[in-house]
Symmetry: C2
Subunit: 466 residues, 2 copies
C-alpha cells in the first residue's frame, strides 16, 4: 500500500483518534486543568510511541510538560523540527457552545470542539503523516524531531529556556508548524510574518472595600469608572493607539510590499465576513488586512469589576481590572512598549485611585524569508495536498516560538497552516474542517518527501556566509 492509499484507508480511525485527543480539557491557563494537560501529554506521547517514533519523552517544565519524539534514521538527509501545541484556550463562555467543548462532535463535515483546529487537529496532520510513512515504508524520508508543547496559549513561558538548554539536541535544518490560517478551503496560504505580543493586566483600586452606591455615590471616584476612562484613553477617536511614542519604531512597508499585499491578501469585505462583523474600524489609511498584520493593535480582552450576576447590586466596587492585549510589528520591542504603556497609564490614572500593571506575556514580531528552501518545500507540498498553489500571507497572530527557533537554533519556520478563517479558534464552537484534515495529512506527507530532496549543506552554507 502506498502512503496516500494508507492515509485514505485509515481515515475513519484517524478521526476517532483526533476526537480522543480533543476530549482532554488541556486548558493551560487554568490551574484546575493542570492534571488534564498532563494527561493529554501522556496520551500524545503514548500515541507517538505507538506509531513508531523513537526517543519519546514527556519532559516536565515548571508548569506544563513538553512532549518530544524523534526519528533519526535518514542519514545524510535534512532534519525537520515539527513544532505544535497540545494545550488549548479556555472554553468560556460555555453557554454559547452548541455541543460541549470537550465532547468532540462531527456536524456538516466539521469536527467541533475546543482545540479541534487550534492546534490539536493541525498537529495530528503531521502525526498521521509520520505514522503513514512509518507503517508503509518503515522509515521517514528525512530525520524528524517533534516538539509539542503545553503552554502555547499562555505565551510559552518555559519553552525558550528549554530550547536554549537543549539547543544541540534540537538542532535541525528547518522547523515546520501548522497553526496558521489558509484563505479558504481550496486556497492554502503560507504565513511569512507574525505580530508580536504584549499581555498586561491593569488593576485600578480605590476604597478599602466595596461601597453602597446610594450612600457613597458621588463621594469617591469609582475604580470601575476610572478603569473605563483609562481604557477609553488608550485609543484616539479614529482608532489609533494613543500612547505617546507607541508608533515611533513601527516599520512602514514599502509600496511594492503594499501592492503585493493588495494582490494576494483578503479584501476588507472578506475579513469582515469571517469576523461576522458588519463594519470595519481602525487606523485610518490602511486596509483591514494591513491593520491586522503590518500595523500594531490593542484589544481589551476582558474587564472584571463590580457585580456580574443577574439583576443589580447597589455597589461601588473597591477595584476593577482589565486585560490588555497588544499586537506588535517590526521593529517594536515588547519591553520598550511595556515601558511606554506603564508611563502612559501612570499619567492617565486620576490621583484619587491607584493603578497597577502586571505583564504576563512578551513576544517579538517575526518575519520569514519567502525564498527559503523549507518554505518552498511547503509551497510545493500544498500544491500536492490541496491541488492549489498557496499565497503568501502575513498573520496578525503571534507565535513567539518562531523567533526562538530563529534566534536560538538559527533556523526558519515554515508556517504551513490548515485552519480556515471561520474555524472560530479561541471562540465558542471552534471546529476543524474534515476535508482540511485529510488534505493536511497529504500535505505533510508531500512536505517530508520534498524536504528529502533538499541538500541541507547548500542553505547551511548560505546562512553562514550571510
Amino acid at each position: 500500500m502506498s502512503p496516500p492509499e494508507y492515509a485514505r484507508a485509515h481515515r475513519a480511525r484517524f478521526l476517532a483518534e483526533l476526537k480522543r485527543l480533543v476530549r482532554f480539557p488541556s486548558v493551560s491557563a487554568q490551574s484546575k486543568h493542570a492534571g488534564d494537560v498532563r494527561a493529554c501529554a501522556e496520551w500524545l506521547a503514548g500515541h507517538l510511541k505507538g506509531i513508531g517514533m523513537q526517543g519519546v519523552r514527556v519532559i516536565a517544565t515548571p508548569r506544563h510538560p513538553i512532549v518530544y519524539a524523534e526519528w533519526m534514521g535518514a542519514r545524510g538527509r535534512p532534519t525537520v523540527l515539527i513544532y505544535g501545541h497540545y494545550d488549548v484556550q479556555p472554553p468560556d463562555p460555555l453557554q454559547e457552545w452548541t455541543t460541549p467543548p470537550f465532547e468532540p462532535t462531527v456536524r456538516n463535515g466539521y469536527l467541533y470542539g475546543r482545540g479541534a483546529c487550534d492546534d490539536k487537529g493541525q498537529i495530528f496532520c503531521h502525526v498521521k503523516a509520520l505514522e503513514t510513512f512509518l507503517r508503509t515504508t518503515g522509515r521517514l524520508p528525512v530525520n524528524v524531531k517533534c516538539l509539542f508543547e503545553g503552554e502555547e496559549e499562555i505565551g510559552s513561558p518555559n519553552l525558550k529556556p528549554f530550547i536554549k538548554r537543549h539547543a544541540r539536541a534540537l538542532a535541525a535544518d528547518a522547523a515546520v508548524m501548522s497553526d496558521t490560517r489558509m484563505l479558504g478551503p481550496d486556497q492554502p496560504a503560507l504565513t511569512y510574518s507574525l505580530r508580536g505580543g504584549l499581555g498586561m493586566e491593569l488593576e485600578v483600586a480605590g476604597p478599602r472595600q466595596d461601597l453602597h452606591s446610594g450612600t457613597f455615590g458621588g463621594a469617591v471616584l469609582n475604580p470601575l469608572q476610572a478603569l473605563c476612562e483609562i481604557v477609553a484613553g488608550l485609543h484616539d477617536r479614529e482608532g489609533r493607539i494613543a500612547i505617546p511614542g507607541f508608533y515611533d519604531r513601527v516599520r512602514r512597508p514599502d509600496e511594492r510590499e503594499r501592492a503585493y499585499m493588495r494582490t494576494v491578501g483578503p479584501p476588507d469585505a472578506k475579513i469582515l465576513a469571517d469576523a461576522g462583523a458588519e463594519r470595519g474600524w481602525g487606523e485610518p489609511g490602511w486596509s483591514i488586512y494591513e491593520r491586522t498584520t503590518v500595523r500594531p493593535s490593542l484589544a481589551v480582552t476582558g474587564i472584571t469589576g463590580g457585580y456580574q450576576g443577574e439583576g443589580s447590586k447597589a455597589v461601588i466596587p473597591a477595584r476593577a481590572t482589565a486585560k490588555l492585549n497588544f499586537r506588535l510589528v517590526p521593529d517594536q520591542e515588547p519591553r520598550a512598549i511595556e515601558a511606554l504603556v506603564r508611563r502612559h497609564v501612570a499619567r492617565a490614572t486620576p490621583s484619587t485611585v491607584r493603578s497597577r500593571l502586571v505583564t504576563h506575556l512578551r513576544a517579538r514580531p517575526a518575519e520569514i524569508d519567502r525564498g527559503h528552501p523549507a518554505v518552498r518545500a511547503a509551497a510545493f507540498a500544498y500544491r500536492k495536498g490541496f491541488r492549489a498553489a498557496p499565497v503568501f500571507l502575513r498573520s496578525g497572530g503571534s507565535i513567539p516560538v518562531v523567533n526562538v527557533f530563529q534566534e536560538v537554533l538559527g533556523i526558519p519556520t515554515a508556517l504551513m497552516g490548515f485552519a480556515l478563517p471561520d474555524d472560530r479558534i479561541h471562540a465558542p464552537n471552534e471546529r476543524f474542517h474534515l476535508a482540511s484534515f485529510t488534505r493536511g495529512i497529504a500535505t505533510c506527507l508531500a512536505f517530508l518527501d520534498e524536504m528529502a530532496g533538499v541538500r541541507p549543506p547548500r542553505w547551511r552554507e548560505e546562512k553562514v556566509a550571510a
Copy 2:
C-alpha cells in the same frame, strides 16, 4: 416584669433568633435563591404568630412573597405601619468574607452576616419590641400593621401594586421603618430625605461571535472598548454627569438648608473615613455630604465582558455590558432622566457597534416633613433608647416605598434607622452592632409608647386641610 426588664432578660435569645433569620440566604436578585426567600418569609411569619401577632399571612406576589401581620386591639389609638424587608443583597465577592455570609457569627460586639444590618437586624428591633409589649402587657400601645417585603433589594417591583390593591386594609396614620444610618454608635439620626433611583443595563454588541485578538485585532471595534468609551463619557473631567439636560430639574437647596446641613451633617473627612477612601471626588462646589444627598450621582456598579478567568485569553468579545445606577434628587423624574440617558447613549454609540439599554429600576426621590408628629415621636424614642437627641440627616440611598406610602396611603414615614456608617451594608463582612440591636429594641418600645399619646385626628385634619 416591665417591658424594658423583659427585653434585657431575653437578650441572648433575641440574638439567637436573629442569627436564625440571617442564616436564610434570601437573595432576591438571584432566581436560584427563590426557595430560600420563600423559606425566610415562612419562618418570619411563623415567628410573628409565635409572639402573638394576629392576621399573619405570607402573601404571594409574581416574585417574592410579602409577610403581613397586625394587632388592632388599641381602639381609638393611632395605627402604625411598620415596614421592613427580609430579602438581602447578593453576598459577592464571596472570597472577601472573613466568615461565610450566611453563617452569622459574633465577633467584637458585632453580628457578622449578609443582612445582619440591612435589614434583618433592624426589622428584628421592631419585632422584639412587639413581643416585649405583648408578653409583658398582653397588648400594644397602638394599633400595628407589619409589612415585610422580600423584594426591596431588587427595587420592590411588586410592592406598589400590592399597596394600591390593599390601600384600605393597609390604612394607617404613619409608617415607620428602620433601614437607614445613624451618625455613630452614640449619635442617632432621623433621615428626612432619600434620593431616587434609576437602574439600567447597557449592552454593547459587535461581531456575531468572539474573535481572536491576534487575527482580528485592529479590524473591528471591540465592544468592550466601545463600552468603556461610552461609560467614560457619562462624566466630565471634574465629576459632573455629562448627559445633556441631566441637571435641568435638580432643585437647589437654599442657603438656610445648606447651613443646617453643614452644622449637623458629617464632614468630608468623616464620610471618607467611613468609605475607607483616602480622597474624595465629585461635583465641584458641593461638600461630600451634599454630593451624596442633594446632588444626583451615577455609579457603574458592574461591568462584564471578555475573559474574566485566571491568566489571559486572546479574545475580542462579541458583547459587553455595564450596570448603571443613577441616584436622583427632587425634582428629577426617573422616566424623564431615562429618556435623556437613552438619547445620550444612542448618540455616543459608535456606528460600528450596537447598544441597548434595559431599565430595571425607577424610584422617585422623597422628602419627609421634619415636624410631623410621627417623626417627632421617633426623635423622642431615640432620646430614650440611645440617651441622645437625633440629628436630622439626608440620605443618599433610595427607599422607593416611602414615596408609595405618601402617594397611595397619604402617610409619612419615620426613618428611624439603627445602622452604623461602617456596618458595610451591601459589602463583604456586613455586620450589625449588638449595642445598636439592644438600644434599637428600646427605641422601638419608646416609639410605640410615644405614638399612643399622639391624637391622630389632629394631624389627619391638618393633612386634609393642607
